[in-house]
C-alpha cells in the first residue's frame, strides 16, 4: 500500500498515512485530487478505480471515506477488508466510533493504525492482539499520568450527538 487517507464528506482530511516518500506539496496535490475524484462518485459505483498507475480502493462509513492506494499487483478485495478491519479496531477501541473520536483523538487513530499496518503492509490481523498492544500502552499511560484523566469526556458526549456513529457493520 502506498498511502491511506481518511476524509469527510465535506472533503476535510482526517487522517493521512504515507508509506512512500513524497514531498508535502505532492501529498497535498494527491489529496486534493483524490478527495475530489472519490467524492464525485455515486454510491452504487464500484469501490476500485485506476488512478495514475495505482489502484484506489475506497469505502464510505457514515460520514467518513477511507481510501487506500495500492500497487498494480495488490489485491483489491483484501484491501477493502483492511479498511474494514481498521474501522472495527477503531470501533472497538473508542466504543462505537464516530468521526469526532478521530478528530479529537487523532493521535490514537495513528497509533492503532501503526499497530495494524506498518510500512504499508499488514502487520497483525488479530483484533485482540492489536488492541492488547494499544491497551497495554494505555495502562502504562494511566500509571504515569498525573493530570486529570476524564476531562475530555464532556466534550465527547456533547458532540457525539451531532455526528453519525460510524455504522460500519450495518452499512
Amino acid at each position: 500500500m502506498q498511502f491511506m487517507l481518511l476524509f469527510s464528506r465535506q472533503g476535510k482530511l482526517r487522517l493521512q498515512k504515507w508509506y512512500v516518500p513524497l514531498s508535502d506539496k505532492e501529498k497535498k496535490k494527491i489529496t486534493r485530487e483524490l478527495v475530489q475524484t472519490v467524492l464525485a462518485r455515486k454510491p452504487k459505483m464500484c469501490s476500485f478505480l485506476e488512478w495514475r498507475d495505482l489502484k484506489i480502493v475506497y469505502k464510505r462509513y457514515a460520514s467518513l471515506y477511507f481510501c487506500c492506494a495500492i500497487e498494480d499487483q495488490d489485491n483489491e478485495l483484501i484491501t477493502l477488508e483492511i479498511i474494514h478491519r481498521y474501522v472495527e479496531l477503531l470501533d472497538k477501541y473508542f466504543g462505537s466510533v464516530c468521526e469526532l473520536d478521530i478528530i479529537f483523538n487523532f493521535e490514537k487513530a495513528y497509533f492503532i493504525l501503526d499497530e495494524f499496518l506498518l510500512g504499508g503492509e499488514v502487520q497483525e490481523t488479530s483484533k485482540k492482539n492489536v488492541l492488547k498492544a494499544i491497551e497495554q500502552a494505555d495502562l502504562l499511560q494511566e500509571k504515569t499520568e498525573h493530570v486529570s484523566a476524564r476531562v475530555s469526556l464532556g466534550v465527547r458526549k456533547r458532540t457525539r450527538i451531532c455526528a453519525g456513529v460510524l455504522t460500519c457493520i450495518k452499512m
Binding site: 505532492e26 478485495l77 477488508e81 477501541y93 497509533f111 506498518l118 503492509e121 492482539n129 499520568e145 476531562v151
Partner: protein, 978 residues
C-alpha cells in the same frame, strides 16, 4: 465505558480542537492558530522549564496544526526531547511528531537516531516497537544507514518478542524498499525464511511480506520458501473456519496471510518437487471448490475475504499458465462473477479475464462470455466497469468475432466518457485493420470513427486509412463514394475533410461519372468546407484542387479563380500563399502532359522503406533523415511561417513511421523515384525554408516537383517538413551508455516488465508488449527525490543504421517532474528489419540546478519480435536440415551462470519468445524451440536447441536461422541468460 477514557488527558488540546472547529471562517481559523503558535513559541522559549506533560501537549497541538495543512517550523527539538522521556505517552507523541514531520536537519537526525538506538537496546518490547515503527514510518536513507544492519539481528534473535519480530520484519522491508543497497544479505536470510513456520500467525503475516520483497531480487537465496509457503497455505486452506481463532475473519481462515502466501508463490515458477506441486494444486482446487459452496455468512466481509483469496488463486493459476484444467475452471468461475450483483466482483472478474484471454488454454473459454461482456459495456452504470469491459473485448477479439466487437465498440464510442475515447478509437482502429478481410468494412469503420469521435482520431489513424486505400485498388472507388457521402453532412469533422480531400484528389475520377458527384459538385462540396478549416487542412485542400485540375480539366477555370483570389495569393500564412502562387503558376505554364506527370496518382506505399531514402539519410546524417521523415507529418507550416530556424542542433525526433500504434504502416512513400540529386534538393529547400518566399519568381521546375509530387501528409516534402518542436539531440550529442547498460539490457531479454534503472534520484520502470513486428512500451520515470526535476527530457536515439531497421515513435513527456511523482512515456515500436543493436534512451534533466544525463540501452532486442511456432518433430527436422549452411548456424558452449533448473530454463526460453517443442529431441533433457522473427521487411525463421549438461554445469546452444547475423546475435543474447 469506552476504553478511550483511560488516561486520556490533554484538556488543553481538546479545547483547542473545539475552538478550531467552532471557527466560522478560514480567516478565523488562521487567527486562532497564529495565536496558539505564538503561545506555544513563548512557552518553549520561556525561562521556566516545561514539564513533560506540557511539552507533550504543545507538541501534540503543533502536530494537529500541521495535519490541518499549516506549516510548522519549530518544535522539533521539543519533540526530540520527548523521545528520551521514560513516560510512554510522552515518548509516543514524540515519535509520532517525528514520523509525520521529519526533516533532514542533520543535527536533529543524529539526536533522533540516538534516541532510537537507546530504545532498541532497552529490551523493553513496547519501547522497541515504538522505535521500529518510527524507522518504518520515516524510512529515509539516513535511518537506513543507521539501522539497516541492526534490524536483521533483532528480527531473528531467539529472545525477541513476537510483536517486536513483526515490527522488525516490516521495518526492514520499508528500509529495503527505500535503499536496497543498505540491507546486507547474510546468514539471517535463511532464518527469515523459517519464520514461515512460526507458531505465531502475526509473525508469519509480517514475515511473508518481507520475504516476498526480498526474493524478487534474490530468488535463489529464498527458494526454500516455496515448500514452506505451500505447506502453510495448505494448512490454512484446509482448516475449519474456527481453527484459527482470532485469525479467522468472518468465517474465513487467515485471509490476509493466505493472499500474501499466494502472492509470494507468484514470484516463482511452479514448484519442481512433484509432492510440493501436488499439494499446491490441491490447495488451488480447494479454493476453487470452496467458491462454489454456499456462503457461511451473508455479510459482505465474508464474501470479500473469501473472494480475495479466490482472485489471488486465479492470479497464481494465470501466472503458472500451465494447468489447462485450472485455467478453464478459473474462467468459468469468473464467468459467474460477470453477472454478480456486486459491482466490485463484476469489475474484478472483467479485469482478471483480460489476462486469461491471452493464455492459449483459456482464450476460447473467455470468448464464450462475449455477450455478457457486450451487455456490460452497454448497461454498466459505472464508467470504470465499462472501461474494463472494453478492455476485455479488445483482449478477446480475434478473426472470428472482430466484426461484432468492432461494431459494439463503435456504438459504445457514441456515449463513451471523454477520458477514454481516444483509447477506444485506437483500439477500434487496430482491430479493424488487424482483422479486416474486406477492406470496405475497414474504410467504413474508420470513417465511422471520425464521424463519431473525430476529435479523438489521431493523425496516425487517418494517415493509415489513406495508406491502405492507396495501396488497394479494389477499395478506392468505394472509398471515394463513401467520403463523398460523408462530406455531405452539414457539420462534418475536420479530419473527415482531410481524408475526403485527399481521397477525392486521388480517386475522385472514379465517381465522377455519376452526375450527383460530378467534378464541379465534388469541388464545390470540398470548397464549402474550406473556410472553416485550419491552415493545415486548407493547405491539403489546395493540393487537392491542383490535382482536380489534372483529373478534371473542366474545373480548371473555377479553381484558378479560387487560387487567384486575394485571400489565397496574399494569404498571411506563408505556406498557403506559396501553395497558391505555385499551383496557379503550375496550372498556367505547364502543358497537360507535364501536369499529368507531376500530378500522377500516388504510387502504392512500399512495404518497406525506399532504399534511396535510406541511403540519403545515411549520407546526410540523422538531421537530413529526420527532416525527410517529418515530411510525413501534418504540414504545420506555421513553424516556417514563424521563422523558426531549423538549426542543425534542433532536428526533430526521427520517427520514420508515425504510424498507427506502430501498425505495419507504410514508411514515407518512396520519394519520387528520382536520382539522389533530387533528394539533395529536397534538403536544400528545407534548410532554406524561411527564405523561400513566393517572390522568388519563377521557381525551377524541380522545386515544383518536390513541392507537388507528394501532396499528402505522408510526403517527404521538404517544405512541409515540420522543423519540429521536439529538440532531440542527435546521437552525437548524447553520452555513451552507462557501464551497466548491457547488464540492465540483459535482464530484459527474457521478460518485458521490470525496473530498468534505479539510482538515488530516478527510477525507470518498463512495461512492454510485443505482437508480431509491433510493440508498445511504457516507460515510467519516477522522481525519487522531493525536489522537482526540470527540463526533463527522455529521448530515444537510433545509432548507426538502426533507424532503417527499427522505428520508435515517442510521445513527449512533461518537462517537469515533481518530487515523488512519476511520469509515463509511451513508445510505439515497429521492427522494420532485423537489427543487432538496441536503440539508446537518453534521459536528461536538471536536479537542483545541476544537469543530469544518463544514457541507457532501451530493452528492445530482436527476439521481442519472435512469434512462437508450434511444429511436429518431423517438420522441425526437415527445416533444421534446410538450414544447414555453415553461416546459418551459430553455436555456443558456455558455463552455467545460474543453477541449472529445467523449469527456470523453460520459463526463460518462453520469455525469449520461441515456442518450446516437446518430443522432438530424443534426449528429454534438451530443449528445442522454434519461432519466426517478424519484421516488416521480412520474416526470419528460427530454430534453436539448448543442451544442458548438468554434470559439467555447461550448456551448448545452437541457433539456426535463415540470416547469418541473426543467428549469431540471437545466440549471443540467449547465451547470457543461463
Amino acid at each position: 465505558m469506552p476504553a478511550v477514557s483511560k488516561g486520556d488527558g490533554m484538556r488543553g488540546l481538546a479545547v483547542f480542537i473545539s475552538d478550531i472547529r467552532n471557527c466560522k471562517s478560514k480567516e478565523a481559523e488562521i487567527k486562532r492558530i497564529n495565536k496558539e503558535l505564538a503561545n506555544i513559541r513563548s512557552k518553549f522559549k520561556g525561562d521556566k522549564a516545561l514539564d513533560g506533560y506540557s511539552k507533550k501537549k504543545y507538541v501534540c497541538k503543533l502536530l494537529f496544526i500541521f495535519l490541518l495543512g499549516h506549516d510548522i517550523d519549530f518544535g522539533h527539538m521539543e519533540a526530540v526531547n520527548l523521545l528520551s522521556s521514560n513516560k510512554y505517552t510522552e515518548k509516543q507523541i514524540g515519535y509520532l511528531f517525528i514520523s509525520v514531520l521529519v526533516n533532514s536537519n542533520s543535527e536533529l537526525i543524529r539526536l533522533i537516531n540516538n534516541a532510537i538506538k537507546n530504545d532498541l537496546a532497552s529490551r523493553n518490547p513496547t519501547f522497541m516497537c515504538l522505535a521500529l515503527h518510527c524507522i518504518a514510518n520515516v524510512g529515509s536513507r539516513e535511518m537506513g544507514e543507521a539501522f539497516a544492519a541492526d534490524i536483521p539481528r533483532i528480527l531473528v534473535a531467539g529472545d525477541s518478542m513476537d510483536s517486536v519480530k513483526q515490527s522488525a520484519a516490516l521495518c526492514l522491508l520499508r528500509l529495503y524498499k527505500a535503499s536496497p543497497d543498505l540491507v546486507p544479505m547474510g546468514e539471517w536470510t535463511a532464518r527469515v525464511v523459517h519464520l514461515l513456520n512460526d507458531q505465531h500467525m502475526g509473525v508469519v503475516t509480517a514475515a511473508v511480506s518481507l520475504i516476498t520483497c526480498l526474493c524478487k531480487k534474490n530468488p535463489d537465496d529464498f527458494k526454500t520458501c516455496i515448500s514452506l509457503a505451500v505447506s502453510r497455505l495448505s494448512r490454512i486452506v484446509s482448516s475449519a473456519s474456527t481453527d484459527l481463532q482470532d485469525y479467522t475473519y468472518y468465517f474465513v481462515p487467515a485471509p490476509w496471510l493466505s493472499v500474501k502466501l499466494l502472492r509470494l508463490l507468484q514470484c516463482y515458477p511452479p514448484p519442481e518437487d512433484a509432492a510440493v506441486k501436488g499439494r499446491l494444486v490441491e490447495c488451488l482446487e480447494t479454493v476453487l471448490n470452496k467458491a462454489q459452496e454456499p456462503p457461511k455468512s451473508k455479510k459482505v466481509q465474508h464474501s470479500n475475504a473469501k473472494n480475495a483469496i479466490l482472485f489471488e488463486t486465479i492470479s497464481l493459476i494465470i501466472h503458472y499458465d500451465s494447468e489447462p484444467n485450472l485455467l478453464v475452471r478459473a474462467c468459468n468461475q469468473l464467468g459467474q462473477f460477470l453477472q454478480h450483483r456486486e459491482t466490485n466482483l463484476r469489475y474484478l472478474a472483467l479485469e482478471s479475464m483480460c489476462t486469461l484471454a491471452s493464455s492459449e488454454f483459456s482464450h476460447e473459454a473467455v470468448k464464450t462470455h462475449i455477450d455478457t461482456v457486450i451487455n456490460a459495456l452497454k448497461t454498466e452504470r459505472d464508467v470504470s466497469v465499462r472501461q474494463r469491459a472494453a478492455d476485455l473485448l479488445y483482449a478477446m477479439c480475434d478473426r472470428s468475432n472482430a466484426k461484432q466487437i468492432v461494431s459494439e465498440m463503435l456504438r459504445y464510442l457514441e456515449t463513451a466518457d471523454y477520458a477514454i475515447r481516444e483509447e477506444i478509437v485506437l483500439k477500434v482502429a487496430i482491430l479493424a485493420e488487424k482483422y479486416a478481410v474486406d477492406y470496405s468494412w475497414y474504410v467504413d469503420t474508420i470513417l465511422n470513427l471520425i464521424r463519431i469521435a473525430g476529435d479523438y482520431v489521431s493523425e496516425e489513424v487517418w494517415y493509415r486509412v489513406l495508406q491502405i486505400v492507396t495501396n488497394r485498388d479494389d477499395v478506392q472507388g468505394y472509398a471515394a463514394k463513401t467520403v463523398f457521402e460523408a462530406l455531405q453532412a452539414p457539420a462534418c469533422h475536420e479530419n473527415m475533410v482531410k481524408v475526403g480531400g485527399y481521397i477525392l484528389g486521388e480517386f475522385g475520377n472514379l465517381i465522377a461519372g455519376d452526375p450527383r458527384s460530378s467534378p464541379p459538385v465534388q469541388f464545390s462540396l470540398l470548397h464549402s468546407k474550406f473556410h472553416l478549416c485550419s491552415v493545415a487542412t486548407r493547405a491539403l485542400l489546395l493540393s487537392t484542387y491542383i490535382k482536380f485540375i489534372n483529373l478534371f480539366p473542366e474545373t480548371k477555370a473555377t479553381i484558378q479563380g479560387v487560387l487567384r483570389a486575394g485571400s489565397q495569393l496574399r494569404n498571411a500564412d506563408v505556406e498557403l500563399q506559396q501553395r497558391a502562387v505555385e499551383y496557379l503558376t503550375l496550372s498556367s505554364v505547364a502543358s497537360t502532359d507535364v501536369l499529368a506527370t507531376v500530378l500522377e496518382e500516388m504510387p502504392p506505399f512500399p512495404e518497406r522503406e525506399s532504399s534511396i531514402l535510406a541511403k540519403l539519410k545515411r549520407k546526410k546524417g540523422p538531421g537530413a533523415g529526420s527532416a525527410l521523415d517529418d515530411g510525413r507529418r501534418e504540414p504545420s507550416s506555421h513553424d516556417i511561417n514563424g521563422g523558426v530556424e531549423p538549426t542543425p542542433s534542433t532536428v526533430s525526433t526521427p520517427s520514420p513511421s508515425a504510424d498507427l500504434l506502430g501498425l505495419r504502416a507504410a514508411p514515407p512513400p518512396a520519394a519520387p523515384p528520382a536520382p539522389s540529386g533530387a533528394g539533395n534538393l529536397l534538403v536544400d529547400v528545407f534548410s532554406d525554408g524561411p527564405a523561400a518566399q513566393p517572390s522568388l519568381g519563377p521557381t525551377p521546375e524541380e522545386a515544383f516537383l518536390s513541392e507537388l509530387e507528394p501532396p499528402a501528409p505522408e510526403s517527404p516534402m521538404a517544405l512541409l517538413a515540420d522543423p519540429a518542436p521536439a529538440a532531440d539531440p542527435g546521437p552525437e550529442d548524447i553520452g555513451p551508455p552507462i557501464p551497466e547498460a548491457d547488464e540492465l539490457l540483459n535482464k530484459f531479454v527474457c521478460r518485458n516488465n521490470g525496473v530498468l534503472f534505479e539510482n538515488q534520484l530516478l527510477q525507470i520502470g518498463v512495461k512492454s508488449e510485443f505482437r508480431q513486428n509491433l510493440g508498445r512500451m511504457y516507460l515510467f520515470y519516477g522522481n525519487k527525490t522531493s525536489v522537482q526535476f526540470q527540463n526533463f527530457s527522455p529521448t530515444v536515439v537510433h545509432p548507426g543504421d538502426l533507424q532503417t531497421q527499427l522505428a520508435v515513435q515517442t510521445k513527449r513527456v512533461a518537462s517537469q517532474v515533481d518530487g515523488g511523482a512519476q511520469v509515463q512515456q509511451v513508445l510505439n515500436i515497429e521492427c522494420l528489419r532485423d537489427f543487432l543493436t538496441p536503440p539508446l534512451l537518453s534521459v536528461r534533466f536538471r536536479y537542483g540546478g545541476a544537469p543530469q544525463s544518463l544514457t541507457l540501452k532501451l530493452p528492445v532486442t530482436i527476439n521481442k519480435f519472435f512469434q512462437p511456432t508450434e511444429m511436429a518433430a518431423q517438420d522441425f527436422f526437415q527445416r533444421w536440415k534446410q538450414l544447414s549452411l555453415p553461416q546459418q548456424e551459430a553455436q555456443k558452449i558456455f558455463k552455467a551462470n545460474h543453477p541449472m533448473d529445467a523449469e527456470v530454463t523453460k520459463a526463460k526460453l518462453l520469455g525469449f519468445g520461441s515456442a518450446l517443442l516437446d518430443n522432438v529431441d530424443p534426449n528429454p533433457e534438451n530443449f528445442v524451440g522454434a519461432g519466426i522473427i517478424q519484421t516488416k521487411a521480412l520474416q526470419v525463421g528460427c530454430l534453436l536447441r539448448l543442451e544442458p549438461n548438468a554434470q559439467a554445469q555447461m550448456y551448448r546452444l545452437t541457433l539456426r536461422t535463415s540470416k547469418e547475423p541473426v543467428s549469431r546475435h540471437l545466440c549471443d543474447l540467449l547465451a547470457q541468460q543461463f
